[in-house]
Subunit: 487 residues, 2 copies
């Protein structure tokens, strides 16, 4: 199979491991590049769209009809191995036959055509559909789930559920006072209390105003937007590989946890008690920063000790990329969280929560759509495919190959690469600096590999769950070429 790989790619000088042919039947054989990217047609469309929107973030325009499996095809006929998957939101590749079949089923038509107000008039199959989709993968200890349209709305509403829970706890059996009801209408305490959510430097939880107050990954996301005076704790800055720096990393984690407790006390004294703690199992947008299971277990205990809800944001980590369906499963806890939010690979936003986090009254957590049942139809099928094809095991296998390949490459190119890290295929590696990182991303793209950046100078790997060892080796070959040519 090495021979096969090298015939596909001239100039391959690196194959970390032989691999079987791809099992992904609806996949292409490999990348195929016709132009540099963006090509002429993309540039034309960019000009057209520039009349309507800021196009500064647009990479290129896509031909989604022709895209298949792990390959994204652009409007200039370039076919790229996609290891970024729409910011980690395509679970089982492009145009998966199982999903196309959902569309072909006439019983499903009305779910697409008549979007309901789920909170008041759900469709007959709604309880069954969320039971067979979202609840079949519910985090440990949670039997309740609330769908939302996107990740930001999910976190916004999760925070609201936390605030409502916290105040109800303080209020005990008492009903809200008239003063509370009246002051809430004009944004003032006690009706709108000065509660806070503790978040972590480098964290990303969305960009709407509530979420943005807990997001601290890049200044450009936050500049000029009013915010809340909420505490921000340091997230551990670990050294990689984790098992070579156990002692140092444990010290760093202890330092951060101590700071968390200090902040909780300080904010309570300030009159802005911490109602909840929000954290990603792996900080993604902020640079793929990991912490140990021990860190999360201790943090969860701190939350419990101080009466704060523990909110695990799995918007980017959820859905299988780490080799488990939820990244928090790696912590090995029966009671990992009070609330777990999701979106992206789950195709619909939402959050799971423990019973006590359910609002005491209707309409406290509410909006017109409350999600989109047509996305749940697709999710059911995605979960079927994951189970049928043992994709979590496949991800674990591909992830090992990927991480080992990255270790070898950083050993081979120490002046360019460092800090390879990952769980499953949810991997990352750092470039020397941001300019180097950006240059590598563009070079790789022109050679047919689509990657994303995160943090200051990291490259993040976010392939679909159908990214096999075969694709890992294809990628490593191309990446090796890029690095070899890098001046």
């Amino acid at each position: 199979n090495i021979a096969l790989l090298t015939t596909i790619h001239d100039g391959c000088r690196y194959v970390s491991k032989a691999a079987a042919k791809p099992q992904v039947e609806f996949d292409y054989d490999g990348p195929s590049m016709k132009t540099t990217v963006p090509g002429p047609r993309s540039k034309e469309l960019m000009k057209q769209l520039g009349q309507i929107q800021n196009t500064g973030a647009i990479n290129f325009f896509c031909n989604y009809e022709e895209s298949k499996g792990n390959y994204l095809v652009d409007v200039d006929g370039n076919r790229m191995l996609d290891i970024y998957t729409q910011i980690s939101s395509i679970p089982i590749g492009y145009n998966h036959p199982a999903l196309l079949k959902v569309m072909a089923n006439p019983n499903n038509l009305s779910t697409f055509v008549n979007r309901p107000a789920l909170g008041i008039l759900p469709p007959e199959n709604f309880p069954d559909k969320i039971t067979e989709s979202l609840l079949s993968v519910a985090p440990s200890g949670m039997t309740r789930v609330q769908t939302m349209s996107c990740g930001a709305c999910s976190n916004e509403n999760a925070y609201k559920a936390i605030f409502i829970w916290y105040r109800n706890k303080e209020r005990g059996q008492n009903t809200p006072t008239n003063e509370e009801l009246n002051t809430s209408m004009i944004n003032q305490a006690p009706g709108c209390p000065e509660l806070s959510i503790l978040s972590f430097m480098g964290g990303f939880h969305g960009r709407t105003l509530g979420c943005l107050a807990t997001t601290h990954s890049k200044a450009i996301h936050k500049l000029d937007i009013p915010s809340f005076d909420w505490p921000v704790a340091p997230f551990p800055r670990l050294q990689y590989p984790l098992d070579e720096f156990t002692r140092e990393n444990a010290e760093e984690e202890a330092r951060c946890l101590e700071e968390v407790e200090d902040l909780i006390v300080k904010w309570r004294q300030k009159g802005k008690p911490v109602a909840g703690i929000v954290i990603e199992p792996i900080q993604a947008e902020g640079g793929d920063n990991h912490a140990s299971p021990d860190f999360f277990r201790r943090l969860r205990n701190i939350a419990r000790k101080h009466g704060c809800a523990f909110h695990v944001d799995e918007v980017q980590t959820g859905g299988g990329g780490t080799g488990k369906f939820w990244a928090h499963e790696h912590w090995g806890m029966d009671d990992p969280a009070d609330i777990v939010s999701f979106s992206k690979k789950l195709l619909s936003g939402g959050y799971y929560h423990k019973d006590e986090l359910q609002p005491d009254k209707p309409y406290r957590i509410f909006n017109t759509w409350m999600g989109d049942p047509s996305k749940n139809l697709f999710l059911s099928e995605v979960l079927n495919v994951i189970r049928r094809e043992n994709l979590l095991e496949e991800v674990t296998r591909s992830g090992k190959a990927l991480l080992n390949g990255l270790y070898e490459l950083q050993a081979q190119y120490p002046s360019i690469l460092s800090r390879a890290r990952g769980q499953g295929t949810f991997c990352a590696i750092d470039a020397f600096d941001d300019a180097t990182r950006d240059r590598i991303l563009l070079k790789a793209r022109d050679k047919g590999v689509l990657l994303g950046g995160c943090g200051d100078r990291s490259i993040r790997f976010r392939p679909a769950l159908v990214f096999k060892e075969y694709h890992v080796n294809l990628f490593l070959n191309i990446f090796n070429d890029v690095l070899a040519q890098h001046k």
Copy 2:
């Protein structure tokens, strides 16, 4: 035709006007009730869903497959004339053939199956599709539009665009200082400045934390959620019918406008300048409160005078229900707003804005999905139907019949009904008190008419755009029966 109507409904004692047979070919003939609502099957499902979510707001469960045109069918086989349309979000009725056709077109499949990250990798047809859909109905003076997943996200991002615009104006040619960049990361000024959005008592702009700071319709929406110290102006409390109280209403509007200016000055002095003013053309959730075109013109001038962006929230009013595509068109202005947000009947959230409200850099307004192109496909067809069938004229015609009918009913039942008001079919009427209102809503539902409440004691009418005079008369007959039987 009166004869026809009375044979359809036994016991009809009231027909305001003869009407032609319905032109809606995919419609049913009239309501048909088998059980009280919710029926036994709905109750069963409610119990099932109660294990998963708070079901306190659920009316009943629906059979969307069997629903057609103006009629919503429930899981117990009850068929209701739907004058609430999923909180005003079904534009052209259930299972419209034009929308089913979108699903049958194989070229559209991949748009549903592969949801892109629109801000970085849009599909080839994206510029064309938003040009033929959203831009073909752009408000006067606006050529730019940003899609979002839902109404709340639309307003959140519109506010962000306003804050960014405002600070860039203050900053002039200067780039942000390091102090600004650094403080923004920890939620502090000057990076996260203390800017504000002025909103109106009774307004509703969504329930995420930024939006919620401008929402003031019901305490239960706001209680226990931290908020911003932003100014809240009084919205005119007009007397209806408007043309009988011209002088009184003009005085009331002048009082409110004066208060707006006072608040702008006061908040500037407080160090929390008003960057934008947000308002609905008709306050919907807050009780269907109207104001005159003159009020809005003057308010828009106040915004201009004080350098505040003027944000018109058309999430509920947009899409044709008022007889014009945008309710603000009734103001007769060339430059009605700086930013106009939408969702619901537009099927996708988003906002239009003037050129200067476009952020100066990419990623300042951004999230993973940035809307959903499959919703734009449906919207294109909705707009085609609206044009082809002159639905805005039809709405104007049905709306007149509806409002006249409501006038007659309130004259006939002065102890129950008052303050009939409306624009197009976007009508409302007040009941004596909230208990009376709620009783009427339930009675009407059991007779096959689905209505919604708003404000303290109002009934709001939000039919689809295919609600014809025929349906108006059907409704008036049933409503008359309900009122006649009301004790």
